[in-house]
Amino acid sequence: MTEAPFDVKTLEIDGRELSARRGQTILEVARENDINIPTLCNMEGLSNVGACRLCLVEIKGSNKLLPACVATVSEGMVVSTNTERLQKHRRNILELLFAERNHVCSVCVSNGHCELQSMAQDQGLTHVRMPYRNPHLPVDASHERFTVDHNRCILCTRCVRVCGEIEGAHVWDVMGRGIDSMVITDLHEDWGKSTCTRCGKCVQVCPTGALFDKSKIGSDHPKYPDFLPYLNLMREAR
């Protein structure tokens, strides 16, 4: 007998015996049990793209690392979420992000409320060995309420997804590719002149200071993405 009844799976995460429902992702099970797996692109209520690679975990018996946000549980799975190998990769990925654009925490509206910043601290990052790339990137302040500072964007595409999947406007998308990728509104037009509905959801889900509310410049600028699960719940209830 290998399958547990009622679609319940038992698995082990970081040495703890846990049970999960079939089809749940490793990340969901971990969070239900207060096991912290770092993520940046993932956000509850949005589709999962498996792009940031920070939630990679080790599965016993496999050399391949799996993204916890999309990998579903299976019976008898033995998961490790915080091995030395994973820690090293996570630090390297964070270093890559810091070196990719111009993240200057001290002058950022999100200083103190930034997911990238706090994750760097959580992962024990005190400096970046990779050469800084220093790209020349625009800041678009054409919108009456919001600003996008591409210097701080980590291309997690939460804004793209919340705009397309939740607001249904799909004003944001990604242009270009590779290291030249950039989030855009409409045909790479000024945000202020775009078809934006001004709902502000993108600002709230942005993990860094890339998208911010103009009225809060220079002040404490926390984000409130908690509306998302609620919105989804209410929609399902309809």
Binding site: V49, G50, A51, C52, R53, L56, L65, P67, V70, A71, R85, K88, H89, N92, I93, L96, L97, A99, E100, R129, M130, P131, R133, I154, L155, V174, G176, R177, G178, I179, D180, S181
Partner: protein, 553 residues
């Protein structure tokens, strides 16, 4: 259409051909065409007519040894002429019925003797724009056999039995893949042909699509029958306009003959194929990215599972194989799985087409049984490195592959052996390098390729390849340090292990394999600011030394 009708067509073609005493086949593939094969063919046609001899002038796909082009083969004598110019047309026509034109004949016996032609069996023998030419060489027989005499399961079984592995690069067992799609639930399934041959230095798939397009279509139709699909897509690079045109013609002809469409060959089997154009994105060779592109979106890969076999195009079970894989199907169905299984090495069955290029005498397209030793390819088929230079390395597998050093030429070419040597089979590019190539520079070239071709979705590939490129550039321009090298190696490890798709996961291969076999070249660049091959300019080095001197002063 029935088997009998098919045979009737073949007979008609043979009868038609028997009206001619001679067949003059002119290779019109890109390499030959770029050397005036078109004018040559026109001249041959003109002169043949004027001569009154019964000559069939046929334009064909790639004959193989491109460096000897334009190529002309005269049958029934099987005389191969190399480097034929328009002005030689008269001599060739005059020689028919007489002795061959000695000065044009080329000695490529050794080149051909080592080869075994399965995928390329028709290459150079048929006019790719004539379906009847294909039919006259057992074309579509396998499809009809499958439809009328075999169950879908039987077809899958035969492919499994053959031991065929995916020719696109990964080497996944083809039969296993077919079986998964066949078993997947759902009434709508798709069959996709990956013709997005993106590896720089590889043109096997182009040659097959251009030279023998029906072979690919037949393979796909058999696959569709086996897995229960009714719709297929061929995804071709827009950079291959001739392939697109030939496939378009071939599809039209196949429909006209009732070999595609509804109720194929009086059975209940329906299947048709659409062509989709790629638009210049290497990453679309990755299957989930390719599917996104067919759906009209940015070609960014998705995490697997779910595999396309379960959830592919528009969420439906989808079978994706490479051009060469499909090109192997018809002969396997015709000749049996065992026939194929008996060719090749222990775990790599059959033959493989390679594009042999770079610093080698006989460049071109070759097909060899797997397991063949590298030296046989380089020294015998390829004719060795020209110009008194010394062989340094062979690069296989494109940007995802690696460099195999000259002292490993006794290596047998198989999926596993190449992988163990730090490279991969890939789709079949084989680029020969001699002592004029700097291996650090080569590694940088490939990393630059991966950097510009990265889709940008996942961080390690997007930013990691860019950082690898920066570090390699430092080493190449003489400003690199040992710390940079150490960081580069660590970065390779992270990019390899954490990238979302194959592009990123294999991007470090060229660096790691050159580091494995040519570490001294890296050290020369870093410690002595010297490029042993004299390729890198080391432009940054003097400035760095001045800065150091200034500090000490």
């Amino acid at each position: 259409m029935t088997i009998e009708e098919l045979e009737q067509i073949a007979k008609t073609v043979q009868l038609e051909n028997s009206r001619y005493d001679y067949e003059v086949n002119v290779c019109m593939d890109l390499a030959c065409a770029s050397q005036g094969a078109g004018l040559l063919r026109d001249a041959l046609s003109r002169l043949a007519e004027a001569s009154g001899k019964k000559v069939l002038i046929r334009k064909t796909g790639c004959m193989g040894p491109c460096s000897s082009g334009p190529l002309v083969r005269v049958d029934p004598d099987d005389t191969l002429y190399a480097k034929v110019k328009e002005t030689n047309a008269e001599a060739i026509i005059n020689s028919l019925g007489e002795k061959p034109v000695a000065e044009l004949q080329c000695d490529l016996n050794e080149h051909f003797d080592k080869q075994v032609r399965v995928v390329l069996e028709n290459a150079g023998h048929i006019d790719p724009e004539k379906i009847d030419d294909y039919i006259s060489r057992d074309g579509y027989k396998a499809l009809l056999t499958a439809l009328t005499e075999m169950t879908p399961n039987g077809v899958v079984h035969r492919i499994t039995e053959s031991g065929l592995r995916g020719r696109g690069g990964g080497g996944y067992p083809t039969g296993l893949k077919w079986g998964t799609v066949a078993k997947a639930s759902g009434d709508v399934k798709y069959v996709v042909c990956n013709g997005d041959e993106g590896d720089p230095g590889a043109f096997m798939d182009r040659s097959v699509m251009e030279g023998d397009p029906h072979r690919v279509i037949e393979g796909m139709a058999i696959a569709a029958y086996a897995v229960g699909a009714s719709k297929g897509f061929i995804y071709v690079r827009a950079e291959y306009p001739v392939a697109v045109a030939r496939l378009t013609t071939a599809l039209r002809e196949a429909r006209r003959r009732g070999l595609l469409g509804s109720g194929i060959c009086n059975t209940t089997f329906n299947f048709d194929i659409e062509i989709r154009l790629g638009a210049g994105a290497f990453v679309c060779g990755e299957e989930t990215a390719l599917l996104a592109s067919i759906e009209g979106r940015r070609g960014t890969p998705k995490p697997r599972p779910p595999y396309p076999a379960v959830s592919g195009l528009w969420g439906k079970p989808t079978l994706i194989n490479n051009v060469e894989t499909y090109a192997n199907i018809a002969p396997i169905v015709r000749n049996g799985g065992k026939w194929f299984f008996n060719m090749g090495s222990e775990r790599s069955k059959g033959t493989k087409v390679f594009a042999l290029t770079g610093r080698i005498k006989n460049t071109g397209l070759i097909e060899v049984p797997l397991g063949i030793k590298l030296w046989e390819i380089i020294d015998v088929i390829g004719g060795g490195v020209p110009g008194g230079h010394k062989l340094k390395a062979i690069q296989t597998g494109g940007p995802s592959g690696g460099c195999i050093p000259a002292d490993m030429m006794s290596l047998g070419v198989s999926y596993d052996a190449l992988m163990a040597a730090g490279s991969i089979m890939g789709s079949g590019g084989m680029i020969v390098m001699d002592d004029t190539s700097c291996m650090v520079n080569v590694a940088r070239f490939f990393v630059e390729f991966c950097m510009t071709e990265s889709c940008g979705k996942c961080i390690p590939c997007r930013a990691g390849t860019a950082q690898m490129y920066t570090l390699l550039t430092r080493i190449c321009d003489g400003t690199g340090t040992m710390d940079d090298l150490e960081l580069l190696i660590e970065l390779c490890d992270t990019v390899r292990e954490t990238s979302l798709c194959g592009l990123g996961q294999t991007a470090p291969n060229p660096v790691l394999s050159t580091l494995k076999y040519f570490k001294n070249e890296y050290l020369e660049h870093i410690m002595h600011k010297r490029c042993p091959a004299g390729v890198c300019s080391m432009a940054g080095a003097p400035a760095a030394q001045t800065a150091a001197a200034e500090v000490l002063a």
